[in-house]
Symmetry: C2
Subunit: 403 residues, 2 copies
Amino acid sequence: MKATGIVVEYNPFHNGHLHHLNQSRQKTNCEVVIAVMSGNFLQRGEPALVDKWSRTKMALKAGVDIVIELPYAFATAQATDFAKGAILLLDAMKCESFCFGSEEGTLNAFQHTYSLLSSKKEEYNTAISNFMKQGVSYPKALNEAYKLVSLESTQPLLDLTQPNNILGYHYLEATKLFNTSIQPETIQRIVANYHEDAQVDETIASATGIRKLILDNQHLEEVQKFLPESSFQQLTEWTNTHHTFGSWDRFWPLLRFTILRHSKEQLANYAEVTEGMENAIWNAAVKCEQFETFMHTIKSKRYTWTRIQRMLTHIFTGFTWEQLAEVNFPTYLRPLGMSKNGQTYLNSIKKDLQLPLVSRVAASKDPLLQMDIKAANLYYAGLQSTISHQMIGSDYSTKPIIY
Amino acid sequence: MKATGIVVEYNPFHNGHLHHLNQSRQKTNCEVVIAVMSGNFLQRGEPALVDKWSRTKMALKAGVDIVIELPYAFATAQATDFAKGAILLLDAMKCESFCFGSEEGTLNAFQHTYSLLSSKKEEYNTAISNFMKQGVSYPKALNEAYKLVSLESTQPLLDLTQPNNILGYHYLEATKLFNTSIQPETIQRIVANYHEDAQVDETIASATGIRKLILDNQHLEEVQKFLPESSFQQLTEWTNTHHTFGSWDRFWPLLRFTILRHSKEQLANYAEVTEGMENAIWNAAVKCEQFETFMHTIKSKRYTWTRIQRMLTHIFTGFTWEQLAEVNFPTYLRPLGMSKNGQTYLNSIKKDLQLPLVSRVAASKDPLLQMDIKAANLYYAGLQSTISHQMIGSDYSTKPIIY
């Protein structure tokens, strides 16, 4: 069976995701689609709107065949490591290809950009360092350095100010760096701007926009048209049981408590907390009653909003620089759910898998997996719903969803 | 001016406390009563019902002249260190005497018991160790050892199964060990049993009983008759602003989150967490949605309820064995409030004080004081009332209450 991979967060699964899923299937002519999906904390350094099990159901109902959890350590990492974890898992799942959405939409520019940046690696890195020294954020330094090294190129190159182009670039890079046999494909995203709040047409809106509508209004009617019916139903079911959604606003009392439980020096032990940010974070936490004002207080030119949120995620979950340094490659395959078709595929490749397939989580001592379970426990604690308090500890025994 | 000291928690201030206060004044014929009072966490290892400022107001309105905060490190310590901190602070405040309530009621038995146990120190300690090895709790081992060494004594001795006799014994011991000039006095407590829920007469009930009535019913009418009018008013004011009280039930979501944010090994770093209790605590936290069931799950013969709650207090506030080991003597005098009379007294002794008088807290780097402020911040976070969220950080700038 021919399998293709996709890398997703589905926060929540919407019509744009459905388009990507269907296009990926069509373009690669595959029989099985495997999604590597983040758990309860995401690359933007945020708790997911709804938990990974609920998002897995959305994925399966929309046609994904297998959902594999991207471990916390990769899911909440910078783009390079996020991409590394995702691509290596898809490769381990014997995908022939993977297909990512990008603003660019053609693979050509990705290949050229990769060739250019590999050949000018030293020049590029020096330029990045120099821009960083001027006090700009890492993404901004990347862009300026990129402009510099691409000045003389005659090939079509990527626009690396676009977030999905950046991620796609790192996917491609990961396939090269780790000598995978998995073939990249890209399709153009319908939503031009990932950060856009407003809808592009009447049925497509960005996940960011959809989340904002949901969190601002706490009811789902307004976003219904942007979601497949199955996603809408899933979100409705979630609302009816939890009466709340995952967000930093919701998690803020616990995050604030956790920050103030530490000294500034201790905060600097958590992953991605650098250069005095521990002081800014601690000082703002004493003062700010709302997450929004807290973020505006600590935001500086030096760090992106996303990067700061990742620091906060690691403080919340207690994930340290030391733990981060020990992260190397994915060490297990944890299916969160699968279709009958996915099950058939998994049985066909089972004997050739290089990574252990995790089904009984409680028995594993793998530090990456322990971190996933910890993150799940703390996510449910953060939600503070009657049901979520009961769900603490459930990640030890929840079996993959068969759909 | 002649000053006498008392050691209090006032959780909350009730008619029994008023009796103790008035009797202390009468018995010592003093002009000033100075109370050393625990902050927001108490010796039973619990968050206080209402914060230290509110309890200070109760004390002042009832006639206490000066309230000095017993630092967190002593206030939440075992009886020996609790007594040491309290007595040294009263001594530092130039009290001629101090007066404690006890089940015994006469000083004679305290003196005899102290002489006996000092003379048979080795025998006593060996016996304690032996009983501990049989797996009984520390208080129980103390009692059995005490029975053993006091067998041949012909003097009147203390009943050391009574909690206030125990505390009183440690007060006396502290005056001897640290060569203070402060003179002990004792008066008989009206409430015979500290742990008793029910009232002894129509106006006296134990603080435990009063707290239980308040927490079970969340309204104050039922306890009104046990409190001076000023305490009742103070509690009413608190209820009207916070709509909740400090208790482990209230703090449990944050405590549970904090426990699960740690590995079992990390939990063992917190003060008083010994002999595998980290495992019991962690395992029970995964399962238990309520504090009550959590406690019943981890309770064993080995530890008293109070001792376990102190472990939890230290986990909650992040107070480690390492920090505990560095605690030696009180290093400052922090008045939480005073009457005009108290102010006059303080001015009269100011120049002779051996410890710094702390008024501007924000400026101090004293680790004990930093811990007090941290405990205050976390207490307000734990209360989770709209007002308490605003009060985080207030302990840096709150000035002593002048009444």
